[in-house]
């Protein structure tokens, strides 16, 4: 706490967009920014009317005269519950009435709203929202509470120490006085900002740890929530873009006559990523695109097929790669064994396929560029857009809207769909608002996939059947190479996101080697919910199961032995096994499988039950145990476990994006299949009680399901499936 400097920016001249970067809490008055953005459009931060008496103690909350507490979320709400989480942290220390708390998305401003784990960048990803905000948001709430108490003490001429705050009511028992936040908001703003604050003892939490209602639910069930797709601005035009049929193909000739003849079509604009058709509304733009005639130069286009890529990777796996981890004699230890066990595991390219296809709204004028979007990486997007337009990053204003799912797709360092929108908008009359919309087919074809990966696993067992050598060779594209993240997250050529979940193998093994090949391909790749763990957990947790079988030991007992020094792994493993009834007879064509994995500093174990009939795998039941430190909202944690698992189950059973001679073979939900309700298993979630600081919950359930199901299929059928999606027969 001593290192925190709390500054009330209302006492300085606050310049919108100025970089005020402090280690912890940043106090600042919101109105300057809010007032100028208020006229901008729907869904913006600072939209609520403000009066002079409004209390804005800092950048993260505002208290209006009517007692409404507005929490400003620096993190994107894309389904993971972050708006509710941010509000819970603030409201807990403020002792606010939950019913009177609302949430707004923060404008893009790394100075005030940076992710504390990401240096000076604002962004939401890597399951860090609650973890990095855990103390920051509580301090904001505590500072505001203290200012309200000071104001009350002055007003009532009583000792501040005798004043109590509970559920939005400030009271002084000896004098019998009490009041709400609204009545004191104006006076509180005049109080000195506390230099330090004392956070509550967790024993006295009244909101943290409780199932408080989500703040985004009401407007998401009555159709009122505004996503990018729903933004409508006066004079707005809509663009649909024709992309090349293959990666790397370029436009050789455009005949726009028929497109321009379509009613409502205004312009046809060639941009670096294809040809845009701009019209009064979406359907006209889409008809215009249908009528467009473009010939492509495909001489330099990508021409490989997925099967060929996998073959190339198998060849590459013959040779040593860059070492990500070595213990004992590493790979050399294998040379002295003559009974090595070896297996290849592979996973395909995957599309994020959020229900809201990528889209963006921008307006460019002399003052800069205004963006309406639900996006995960505001700061890097500001830089990208500013770079394209020759602006300063602070001239790019981003209004944070809800995202209809993202799963990493709206966190692209290359800012692909944003720049596409800007390219079109800058060809229009200045000041024209433009909405760019991808169709589902565009979204499936446009790239930035979870990369295809191959894992070559080799191990040798000692006399007790335990592995004494473990060798994992990983082959797949680097997500971070060539991005601004490379300098931080690629070490000695090893992309940390390629080896996470493998290089930190928790099993007790004497000789370990993990190495990596990062072949280059023109296929654009990106993080996809749980990133590296989506493939490393599959390879590791299936292969350890293979070793248990080879040793003739129970897969749970085998893991327990090898995890003897990893209490948190063991905690979730044992909890899931106990709740699931591990080892109970399953009957014919049925089997149980187990897997455990750490990602984003959280620990998840899953026990699944599957049935196999006529080569069709059905997942009947999944029992999940999670250790994520303090569960700020246990029901949101449960929801993320259920949904994260379900997201992973799509990739386990159904989804696969393939190239055939450079063309993506899938286009819509007919052939890029995702889980439907009849395929969703019965699921139960158990949270390990913990006093540790909170860690990630959005991603950690996703990577565990594929190996758990594959292991269960083995138990049911004796067939070891090593390729995703899992297919029998």
């Amino acid at each position: 706490m001593k290192t925190d400097q709390i500054v009330n920016l209302s006492r300085r001249r606050f310049v919108a967009g100025s970089a005020v970067s402090l280690a912890g809490l940043t106090l600042g008055i919101i109105p300057t920014v809010a007032a100028e953005q208020r006229e901008a459009g729907p869904g913006i931060a600072g939209q609520a009317p403000e009066t002079a008496g409004d209390f804005s103690p800092n950048a993260f909350l505002r208290i209006d005269g009517d007692g409404i507490v507005t929490v400003i979320s620096k993190h994107l709400e894309m389904g993971q519950g972050t708006y509710t989480g941010m509000a819970t942290l603030v409201a807990e220390e403020l002792d606010a009435d939950w019913e009177k708390v609302r949430v707004e998305g923060a404008p893009a401003d790394a100075g005030r709203y940076n992710n504390l784990f990401w240096g000076k960048a604002q962004g939401t990803g890597g399951s860090t929202a609650i973890a990095n905000s855990w103390k920051q948001m509580r301090k904001a709430g505590a500072a505001a509470r203290q200012m309200l108490v000071q104001a009350a003490a002055k007003e009532w001429q009583v000792e501040a120490g005798e004043i109590k705050v509970k559920s939005g009511v400030i009271s002084h028992a000896p004098s019998g006085r009490q009041t709400g936040f609204g009545e004191l908001a104006e006076r509180a703003a005049e109080q000195p900002v506390p230099e330090s604050v004392t956070l509550k003892d967790p024993k006295s939490f009244s909101l943290i740890g409780q199932r408080v209602p989500r703040k985004d639910s009401p407007e998401k069930i009555n159709g009122q929530a505004i996503f990018t797709q729903d933004v409508k601005l006066p004079g707005m035009l809509t663009a649909v873009v024709l992309h090349p049929p293959r990666l790397g193909a370029t436009v050789s000739k455009v005949d726009s006559k028929s497109a321009l003849a379509v009613k409502g079509v205004r312009e046809v604009i060639q941009i670096p990523s294809g040809v845009a058709v701009v019209a009064d509304d979406f359907w006209q733009a889409k008809l215009g695109r249908d009528a467009l005639s473009v010939s492509w130069d495909e001489s330099k286009a990508f021409s490989k097929s997925s099967a060929q890529i996998l073959d190339d990777y198998r060849q590459l796996a013959e040779k040593p790669g860059l070492v990500a981890r070595t213990e004992g004699d590493g790979a050399a230890a294998l040379a002295s064994t003559d009974d090595a066990i070896e297996a290849d595991y592979s996973v395909p390219f995957l599309s994020h396929s959020a229900m809201e296809p990528m889209n963006c709204v921008v307006r460019i004028d002399e003052a800069g560029c205004e963006v309406w979007n639900g996006e995960q990486m505001q700061t890097s997007d500001q830089y990208q857009i500013a770079g394209l337009l020759g602006l300063e990053p602070h001239q790019v204003h981003i209004n944070m809207l809800y995202a209809g799912g993202s799963f990493g797709r709206r966190a692209n360092p290359a800012a692909d769909y944003l720049l596409e929108t800007v390219h079109i908008a800058k060809a229009l009359k200045p000041g024209t608002p433009l909405k760019m919309v991808w169709t589902r087919e565009d979204d499936t074809h446009a790239g930035y996939y979870r990369p295809l990966y191959l894992h070559r696993m080799r191990a040798a067992l000692n006399d007790q059947g335990e592995p004494h050598v473990w060798d994992q060779r990983i082959v797949g594209q680097s997500i971070l190479k060539g991005t601004p993240f490379e300098s931080v997250m690629v070490k000695d050529g090893v992309d940390m996101t390629s080896v996470e979940g493998a290089a930190n193998l928790p099993y007790e093994i004497k000789h370990i080697q993990v190495d990596l090949h990062s072949p280059e391909l023109p296929v654009p790749v990106l993080w996809w919910r749980a990133v590296g763990s989506t493939h490393t957990a599959f390879a590791v947790e299936c292969f350890i199961d293979e070793l248990a079988v080879k040793a003739g030991q129970d897969p749970l007992a085998y893991r327990r032995k090898l995890l003897r020094n990893h209490a948190r792994h063991l905690g979730v493993l044992n909890l899931a096994a106990e709740k699931a009834g591990w080892g109970e007879p399953m009957g014919r064509n049925r089997g149980q499988g187990i897997a455990v994995h750490e990602s984003f500093n959280s620990y998840v174990a899953q026990v699944v039950e599957v049935s196999v009939r006529r080569n069709v795998i059905s997942v009947d039941r999944v029992v999940i145990a999670v250790d994520c430190g303090v569960a700020v909202n246990p029901d949101v944690v449960v929801a993320q476990m259920e949904g994260g698992m379900g997201f992973g189950l799509s990739a386990t059973l159904l989804s696969e994006l393939t190239f055939r001679q450079g063309r993506v073979e899938q286009s819509n939900f007919t052939d890029y299949r995702i889980l439907r309700i009849d395929q969703m298993p019965e699921v139960e979630v158990h949270i390990v009680a913990s006093a540790e600081a909170p860690t990630g919950v959005g991603e950690p359930a996703t990577p565990v399901i594929a190996p758990a199901v594959a292991n269960a299929v083995f138990a049911a059928t004796g067939k070891r499936l090593r390729q995703l999606p899992l297919r029998l027969g």
Binding site: K220, G223, E642, I677, M680
Partner: protein, 155 residues
Amino acid sequence: MLNLSINGKRHALDLDPQTPLLWAIRDHVGLTGTKYSCGIAQCGSCTVYLDGAPVRACITPVSDAVGKQVTTIEGLSSPAGQAVQAAWRELEVVQCGYCQSGQIMSAASLLQRIRKPTDADIDQAMQGNLCRCATYARIRQAIKVAADKLNGVQS
């Protein structure tokens, strides 16, 4: 001019009759609760009612809606609809929320037809509605909670 009745309100739209009802509702009437996601009736995000029966608005020509009552999520007010929305809140079904208008429309329609749906009924009625956040377990449970409430009210 096409004359439409949406949520009990009249709208005269100057549109090509083949324009999908979805885009008429979203871009011309300005009701954005009905969502676009696949465009080919594979995901159910655009589910609306025509004279009370659910249709996928993305493949329904706007001309099909002329002379019929169109109901969107904004106008859902039947007892089944209200019970479903209440259950959705009680069970905190929603995550990103983008598909939920369609889920709720399909669920309310199911309860309109079947008073006490079985799991198989739920599978059949809801398998056309995709949810990438995989909120399916809660959707199933919420439909049952809503059914119980409705039956309680009716009995």
